[in-house]
Symmetry: C2
């Protein structure tokens, strides 16, 4: 007998993946150069040469038994030392290896932290537009998922709406900045005001409301935008991170959660999240990738292509009459759909082999998402289609 | 507020890891050569040269964007094709890529399959001695974990005991052959009799009782022992596998579950297990490792060292009066503790810097486990200690 609810959830197709698959099929019919696929957030810039060099050097020089052997569940100590040193240097805080737990990407990191906070009746708030998996993960942990609308003018946090969502059962707020899909980077001022609200509400309900800072796009910012390290503003913050985007290694599954010493119940939260990891089949993050990351903590992403695509698309689309906030980070544009329904717009675009993701799953059915991690020539070729669709 | 049960489970130390840590500390005091550490099941033989070559070739020749990019959740299609072809050739069955789902090792594979079967009141049977994580995983999925004692003479399945454990809520039996910790390989005859029992009981309760075949040691057998492919004997079998042991890549986290077409509700079970994977943060198995495995499906493990240690230890220990079944597979010996309490024996051994794992967590407190994936010189040096402790 198969779990029916689980089975049903497994049959629901992913909109993004369906679009991507459709694009592959259409490419075979009309030619690859005539399909404009903006569906996937898959880095299009190769991993930095230093990453490949580190892989090669480790494979050439290290003893394979220890190179490919089990590491402790939290990750090899020397790897965590490198990451902690890098994080400390950048944040001005004292992050220790013992605060870090290496995971197979940011997704399980988020899940383990959520699971540690999943007491009876627990609620977790996310700011719309949000990464659709947040809902899946929160509900998988038995938590109530509470979306609250961002200010749609700039996609900054709407603190009044957020405060209205807080109840005595609120355990955490997921903060994703730079944001997928809006590209917004929450300003220091926004975060300070968020910290004030959460500190006050935590006192009111008599226990901490955590921020879970999901930061896979931390280094993907443009025009020198400032991405504040949230634990420095609000101590009760757990950071989840992935090297997928910053080092163009999305398939390699290397990330972490970090529970800084200053967070309330830091050690208990870390321990419970470790136990959650074990319960979900975590043994260790891929050992070779751990060592590569250790050698590459100082490397920053190559942003030129994403930046160029961002500018080209923003300038062109706004000139055609589309409305869109100019993104400061990540590699997406979140555009208001002409006519008000992103799904209808996406369907129309599909007829022209232009693949854009309707914002429904992000909680914003009036917007569509474009990934800027695409070929710049494709962007140029696609502009006439955007223009036609705007008319 | 932290989940208290989870926190408490996180504070329980692992016996094996404590022993291992103790060994490292003692090595610093008495010298590495005077510590006889049999605690960890960490392959001591390096990964085959072809594996390192495959890593190097892929890194040197492939486009890094596609090499390190996301793969489908189930794994890259060409990788699953290679694995399916290898499995089909070896089993004589028709395994398709669509039957396979690549995971970060066997642990999550097991969890996803268990979760798919975790309907209300579900029970899962394991045969004692069993890998301790089975209990953790079953209970994490909300299933009742039902251990049933193996025949302790040969560690084959005791079918009478097993049949007594079956209830209308029995969803699956975990079969781990070659077995950790006993080294037993279940014979074709044992498995055929198991199949008869399960087929009869499935008819009685009106729905299939699955076998979950956990097979990370499938290729680690000695003296030409036959490891039957269980789906060929009992169709309602799901296979979980890892390349950790066979290719000496335990830290690299590459495994799979395989739901053959012949299993009852095959497609529904596969779909539900995929959904479970997503709920537990699976995105894809490490992409580079997927490609390496694809190039190395035909490679068999190097068993000489494990075999030599197995023979040396078995011959010496039985000559000292220890009782032990001669293992046919895996890389362990499971030895009856003189005096009847493995924990007491392990404590006494520790005083001589001999580290053996008491069988309590495997459900057999009268036996201790020795890993044979150790240095053969260490084995020789440790024999006098075993002799002294037997007296």
């Amino acid at each position: 007998m198969i779990d029916e609810t689980l089975y049903q959830s497994g049959t629901k197709p992913s909109t993004i993946f369906q679009l991507f698959e459709y694009g592959l099929k259409q490419a075979a019919v009309v030619g690859r150069e005539n399909v404009y696929d903006y569906s996937l957030g898959n880095p299009s810039v190769p991993a930095p040469q230093q990453v490949t060099d580190a892989f090669q050097r480790l494979l050439g020089q290290e003893d394979p038994v220890s190179l490919h052997g089990y590491t402790p569940a939290a990750g090899a100590l020397d790897v965590r030392q490198s990451i902690a040193a890098d994080l400390s240097a950048r944040s001005g805080m004292d992050i220790r290896p013992q605060n870090l737990f290496l995971t197979c990407g940011a997704a399980p990191a988020l899940l383990y932290v959520l699971r540690a906070l999943a007491v009876a009746q627990a609620e977790v708030i996310a700011i719309t537009p949000y990464f659709p998996e947040y809902r899946v993960y929160a509900e998988a942990c038995g938590m109530r998922f509470v979306p609250t609308q961002a200010d749609l003018d700039q996609f900054q946090i709407n603190l009044t709406s957020l405060e209205d969502c807080i109840t005595p059962h609120t355990q955490a707020v997921i903060v994703n900045s730079p944001n997928n899909p809006s590209g917004a980077v929450y300003s220091r001022e926004t975060l300070q005001r968020l910290a004030e609200v959460l500190a006050r509400k935590s006192r009111e309900i008599g226990r901490p409301i955590y921020i879970i800072a999901d930061e896979p796009y931390r280094e993907l910012v443009y025009d020198g935008a400032d991405v504040p390290f949230i634990p420095g503003i609000y101590p009760d913050t757990v950071v989840c991170y992935s090297y997928s985007k910053s080092l163009s290694l999305p398939g390699e599954r290397l990330g972490y959660f970090c529970v800084p010493d200053g967070a309330a119940d830091s050690s208990r939260l870390y321990t419970a999240a470790c136990a959650a990891a074990r319960m979900m089949g975590h043994v260790c993050a891929p050992a070779l990738q751990q060592r590569v990351i250790s050698a590459c903590t100082g490397i920053r992403p190559q942003l030129e292509v994403y930046d160029r695509n961002r500018r080209t698309l923003y300038d062109a689309l706004t000139s055609y009459g589309y409305r869109c906030v100019y993104p400061s980070g990540a590699f997406y544009l979140f555009v208001e759909a002409p006519g008000g329904s992103a799904r209808a717009f996406s369907d129309r675009a599909k007829e022209h082999n232009l693949l854009v993701v309707p914002g429904d799953d992000f909680g914003c059915p009036a917007f569509f998402r474009l990934s800027t991690c695409v070929d710049s020539d494709m962007v140029e070729r696609s502009l006439p289609v955007f223009q036609r669709l705007a008319e």
